[in-house]
């Protein structure tokens, strides 16, 4: 058989097979249609599920991105200060950003030794025993005294350097401001009344009330602004800013009254005898002026160490109002409140009321008498103080026979009167 014939035979065999009727079995088409429809439905469901899955995934992704983005753009304090509690308790109110513009406020009490970070907006209050330090990144420090309330208003870096702004609502603070070497820092302190702007200095601030702030500069220069008034407070000077009054800078003066080596505070009511001195410290070279009842009675200049002594002598006994003034940058200013002063050069009187006779029975005797009210009465090592009427009594032992009694009365001014008499023990 040739190849061609063989191929024809194969063709013939296959075409004969083709002639055989082939039919689908009954019901197959219907089953196939049902299967296909079911497959279509399943695919639609699957697509829907996938689409939903994608939608949820996209939503979840969007939420995550929003959260992450929001977290990233949430403003956070770039710079913080450190609060260190030195004594007592300190209450810290803090507000911290949580998400975007949402913030969480908290208040907590810190005790001695505890620290926390302070950011702008935080408020710190020391209790009656509380003392705290605020340490700024530039090295500057604010010391908070008891019962002090302040807020950190601003703490940031700008092109000119570190900017620190605090507000002392109430209480005493001391500020040691350091100027960073590489940049000029701005340190500004406010009270309800004034704004103190400083660069590299040490100063003390006492927000006494909303209408009264005291500021003293120890180093450098502090520029104080109250309303439209602006004054510079150099080292050694101070200012009492009182609402409605002009700002007057005056020297920082410490004073006391030296009564023959017995110093008394300036605020004390003084009754004394001459001589005495008013001593103290002021910025070196400051001219100190003492006035009695408004009249200048002494003038002296503080030495290189800032010490001054105003020797005093009064021409006549009497009560005076003493005032101490200094020549400051703005003229003569009062540096201390007037203090009442009595110059008394008269020794106290002394009268023995009992015993009425010089003969006494017994090993001891009680002496009664009258002198100046408040005077100290002394016999040997026995001593008592006269009452408001000047009456006194003092018991002393007696030796057998004749006893010499020396009695001394010393008044508040230091004037003394000594009297001598004899008692005979029987």
């Amino acid at each position: 058989m040739t190849a061609d014939k063989t191929e024809k035979t194969v063709e013939r065999l296959l075409s004969l097979l083709a002639a055989e009727p082939v039919h689908l079995r009954p019901g197959f088409q219907a089953r196939l249609i049902a299967i296909l429809n079911q497959a279509v439905i399943s695919r639609k469901r699957a697509r829907l599920l996938i689409a939903r899955g994608w939608a949820w995934a996209a939503l979840a992704l969007a939420i995550i991105l929003a959260l992450v983005g929001g977290w990233l753009v949430t403003p956070r304090p770039a710079i913080t200060a450190t609060l260190e509690v030195k004594e007592g308790q300190v209450v810290v109110q803090q507000t911290r950003p949580v998400f975007l513009t949402l913030a969480r406020s908290s208040e907590r009490t810190l005790t001695k030794g505890q620290t926390t970070k302070l950011a702008p907006g935080d408020r710190v209050r020391t209790d009656a025993n509380g003392q705290a330090l605020i340490l700024y990144p530039s090295g500057s420090v604010t010391e908070m005294q008891p019962d002090t309330d302040l807020s950190l208003l601003e703490l940031r870096k700008d092109p000119s350097g570190l900017v620190i702004r605090i507000k002392v609502w109430l209480g005493k603070t001391l500020h040691r401001v350091k100027r960073a070497l590489e940049s000029l820092s701005t340190f500004e302190t406010e009270t309800p009344l004034i704004i103190a702007g400083v660069r590299g200095t040490v100063f003390r601030l006492h927000a006494i009330s909303e209408d009264h702030t005291y500021l003293a500069t120890d180093e450098g220069l502090v520029r104080v602004q109250m309303g439209d008034q602006v004054v510079d407070v150099p080292a050694g000077y101070e200012v009492d800013a009182i609402a409605g009054q002009p700002l007057r800078v005056r020297p920082q003066v410490t004073i006391y009254i030296n009564l023959a080596g017995r110093p008394k505070a300036w605020e004390a009511t003084i009754t004394t005898i001459s001589p005495f001195a008013i001593e103290g410290t002021a910025p070196p070279g400051t001219t100190m002026v003492l006035l009695a009842n408004g009249e200048e009675i002494a003038r002296v200049q503080a030495d290189e160490q800032g010490r001054f002594i105003l020797p005093m002598a009064f021409p006549a006994e009497g009560t005076y109002s003493l005032e101490l003034k200094a020549v400051g940058p703005g003229g003569l200013v009062q540096v201390a409140p007037p203090v009442p002063f009595t110059y008394d050069a008269t020794p106290p009187s002394l009268e023995i009321l009992e015993p009425m006779t010089t003969e006494v029975i017994g090993a001891s005797v009680t002496l009664r008498g009258r002198t100046e009210p408040g005077a100290i009465v002394q016999i040997g090592s026995y001593q008592t103080e006269a009452d408001a009427q000047g009456l006194f009594s003092i018991e002393i032992p007696l030796n057998p026979g004749t006893n010499e009694i020396t009695i001394t009365a010393t008044d508040a001014a230091g004037n003394t009167l000594t009297s001598k008499f004899y008692l005979v023990r029987k």
């Binding site: 035979t9 194969v10 004969l16 097979l17 055989e20 197959f28 196939l32 429809n37």
Partner: protein, 188 residues
């Protein structure tokens, strides 16, 4: 014959294709009614007349078609596209059969003298079985073109469309397929 030929050549419309892509049940039913029998016959003769296997392959073919319908662009006819899918499914079927390591097929030989009156012989199930067995033993590409050409009666162009071969390649494959089948059948 004319009605049968019309049925044989019938194609669904482009609108129906789009309806199937949307998952329209009526259009899917029409797809099955139009092509299921043709594809079944194409598969049936390739799997040795095993009805259940043929039905499984047809089902797989239509499921694959439905799944891939959204990719059908209409550049070819739906029938040729379905034949193409079915040819791949038959090839898959034979790959699975090989994996199962079925018993070797019995020897196939036809006495050339029987071929004098094949119409009569065909009445015998034995000869039909022998032709199917020979087809099964052929490589996939040979079996596919033989069935398409001589059982389904498709033109060379249609086979080119289904197999993606050139005309020369189709003709050459047909010739080799026939010789290979003759060898299997013991025709000399």
């Amino acid at each position: 014959m004319g009605e049968a030929s019309d049925k044989q050549n019938r194609e669904i419309s482009a609108e129906q294709v789009q309806a199937i892509q949307r998952g329209d049940e009526v259009a899917i039913a029409e797809l099955v009614r139009t092509y299921a029998e043709r594809i079944y016959r194409f598969v049936y003769h390739q799997v040795g007349g095993r009805e259940e296997d043929a039905e499984d392959i047809v089902q797989e073919t239509f499921l694959a078609a439905i799944k891939a319908m959204h990719r059908f662009k209409g550049s070819a006819r739906v029938s040729t596209w379905l034949y193409s899918i079915a040819a791949h499914k038959v090839a898959d079927y034979y790959r699975r059969q090989k994996c199962r390591k079925e018993k070797p097929l019995p020897p196939v030989e036809i006495d050339p003298s029987d071929l004098d009156s094949p119409e009569v012989l065909l009445e015998k199930a034995e000869l039909r079985e022998k032709i199917w067995t020979a087809l099964e033993r052929l490589p996939d590409r040979y079996r596919t073109v033989l069935v398409l050409r001589y059982i389904e009666g498709l033109t060379i162009n249609e086979i080119m469309e289904i197999t993606g071969q050139t005309q020369k390649s189709v003709e050459s494959t047909l010739m080799r397929a026939k010789r290979a089948m003759a060898n299997i059948l013991g025709l000399k």
